[in-house]
C-alpha cells in the first residue's frame, strides 16, 4: 500500500514545490520556461527511477539513463535492482564503450545468474580500474551465486546503454556481502580481464567482511590499492582496509554519500529509541523507504531488532 500511494505523494510534492518556487524564480529573474524545464526533468527522473508505478506523462527518458526498458526488463527479473536512477554518482560515464567498466559489475551480485545484460547496465564500475574489459564474465555464474567476480554480461549488453547506467553498482557493493561466493570465483575471473580478487586482503579466509567485496574485479590485484574510488569507497576499502575493518562500516559510508537509488535505505525521523539488553525498539515517523528499487512511505513505523 504504501507503495501505491507514492506516485500521488510525489505528484503532490512536485506540484507544491513548483508552485512555491515560482515566486523565487521570478525574483531571480529566471523565466518560466526554465521552471517548466526543471519540472519536466524532475518528473522524468522520478519516473525513470521506477520506484513506483507512475502514470507517465513524461516522455521516456532514454537520454541520460539507460533506457527504461532495461529497467522494466530488470524488474521482471525481479532482481533486487534499483531503479535506474542513478542519481548521484557522476560517473564519468560512459563507459559505454568500454565494456570493461561495465564488466565490473558490482551489480553482478544482484544478478543472480540472471540476465546478463541487466546487471551491466547498472554496474558502473566504480573503479576506473583497469579495464576489466569486456571479457564477459563467463556467463553468469552458475547457480547465481554471486561470485562477484564473474561479472555477468559482457559488455555488449552494456553497450546498449548509454553510459549512464546507474551507479547502483556502488551501492551494490556493500551489499555484495550477501553472496560472497568467495573463492569459487577465482576461476572464472581469471579468464576474463576481471581479476579475481581471490588473493589479497579481501580474500583471506577470515570472515572479515572483505571477501564479499570481491566484486572487485576491478583489476585489482589484491595488494593494489584501488585508485580511488570513483564512487565506491567500498571498493576502495577492499584494497586499503585491513581485515580488522568492519566492512559494513565502509558500506555505510558509501551509502551515505547519497546512493539513494542504490542501496536499501530508510529516511525518517525517530520519536523514540529504546533498548533492553540487546533488544531494540524504535518508533519512527514520516519515513521514506527505498528498498529493492521501490519506494514506500510511512507515517509511523515500529521497529524491533536484536543486536
Amino acid at each position: 500500500m504504501s507503495n501505491k500511494i507514492v506516485p500521488a505523494i510525489y505528484r503532490a510534492v512536485i506540484d507544491d514545490v513548483i508552485h512555491n518556487i515560482k515566486n523565487e524564480f521570478e525574483e531571480f529573474g529566471v523565466s518560466e520556461e526554465v521552471l517548466a524545464e526543471l519540472q519536466h526533468k524532475w518528473e522524468k527522473k522520478v519516473i525513470e527511477s521506477h520506484v513506483a508505478e507512475f502514470e507517465t506523462t513524461a516522455p521516456p527518458p532514454a537520454q541520460q539513463y539507460a533506457p527504461a526498458t532495461h529497467h522494466v526488463h530488470m524488474i521482471q527479473q525481479a532482481h533486487p535492482h534499483y531503479g535506474a536512477h542513478n542519481p548521484y554518482a557522476p560517473m564519468p560515464a560512459p563507459n559505454g564503450q568500454a565494456p570493461q567498466v561495465k564488466a565490473e559489475p558490482v551489480d553482478s551480485r544482484y544478478i543472480l545468474g540472471g540476465p546478463q545484460g541487466v546487471a551491466s547496465h547498472y554496474a558502473l564500475p566504480p573503479l576506473p580500474g583497469p579495464t576489466l574489459n569486456g571479457a564477459r564474465p563467463a556467463a553468469v555464474h552458475p547457480g547465481g551465486h554471486q561470485s562477484v567476480l564473474s561479472f555477468p554480461p559482457g559488455p555488449p549488453p552494456v553497450q546498449q546503454q548509454p553510459q549512464a547506467p546507474a551507479q547502483p553498482s556502488t551501492a551494490a557493493a556493500p551489499r555484495a556481502y550477501n553472496a560472497p561466493a568467495p573463492a569459487a570465483n577465482p576461476a572464472q575471473p581469471a579468464a576474463a580481464p576481471r581479476i579475481p580478487q581471490t588473493d589479497g586482503p579481501s580474500d583471506s579466509s577470515d570472515d572479515s567482511p572483505s571477501p564479499p567485496q570481491s566484486y572487485a574485479p576491478r583489476s585489482s590485484h589484491p595488494s593494489l590499492p584501488q585508485p580511488s574510488t570513483s564512487q565506491n569507497s567500498v571498493v576502495d576499502s577492499e584494497a586499503i582496509n585491513s581485515d580488522l575493518d568492519d566492512s559494513d562500516t565502509e558500506g555505510e559510508d558509501d551509502a551515505d554519500e547519497g546512493t539513494a537509488g542504490d542501496t536499501d535505505i530508510v529516511f525518517c525521523t525517530y520519536d523514540k529509541v529504546a533498548r533492553v539488553k540487546n533488544k531494540w525498539k524504535c518508533i519512527l515517523k514520516d519515513g521514506m523507504i527505498h528498498i529493492n528499487g521501490k519506494d514506500y512511505l510511512f507515517a509511523r513505523c515500529t521497529g524491533e531488532f536484536e543486536w
Binding site: 512555491n20 524564480f25 531571480f28 559494513d248 535505505i265 519506494d295 521497529g303
Partner: protein, 113 residues
Amino acid sequence: MASAYYEFYRGSSIGMALTDSLDELITSGSITPQLAMKVLQQFDKSLADTMVKMVKTKTTLRGHLHTYRLCDDVWTFIVKHPSFKMESNEVVSAPRIKIIACKNGDAIEPGKK
C-alpha cells in the same frame, strides 16, 4: 519563514532527482546555485509537509540489528535481513538496510534546541 527542515530527504529518490535536475540547469547556466538552494529548501519543506499531511500508513519492521550509531541526534542503524510489513500485509525484505533517523517527528525549528 525560513524554518529549517531536515535536509536528509534530499538523498531520497525524489530528492536526488530534483538535485540532479537542478545541477543540470546550473551547468547549463539556466539558474544560479542560489536559486537551486532555494528550490531545495522549498523541497525540504514541501516534502515534509506533504508527508505529514498525506501519508498515514503504518509499517512494522523487524530484523537483526547489525550496527547502531547515534551522533548529533541522528540515529543510524544497519539492519540485516530486515522485513517490513506494510499495511496491506505486504511484506518486503532485503538483505540489508540502512536507517537514518533524525530526532523528533517535527522539523527543526529555529530557536529550538
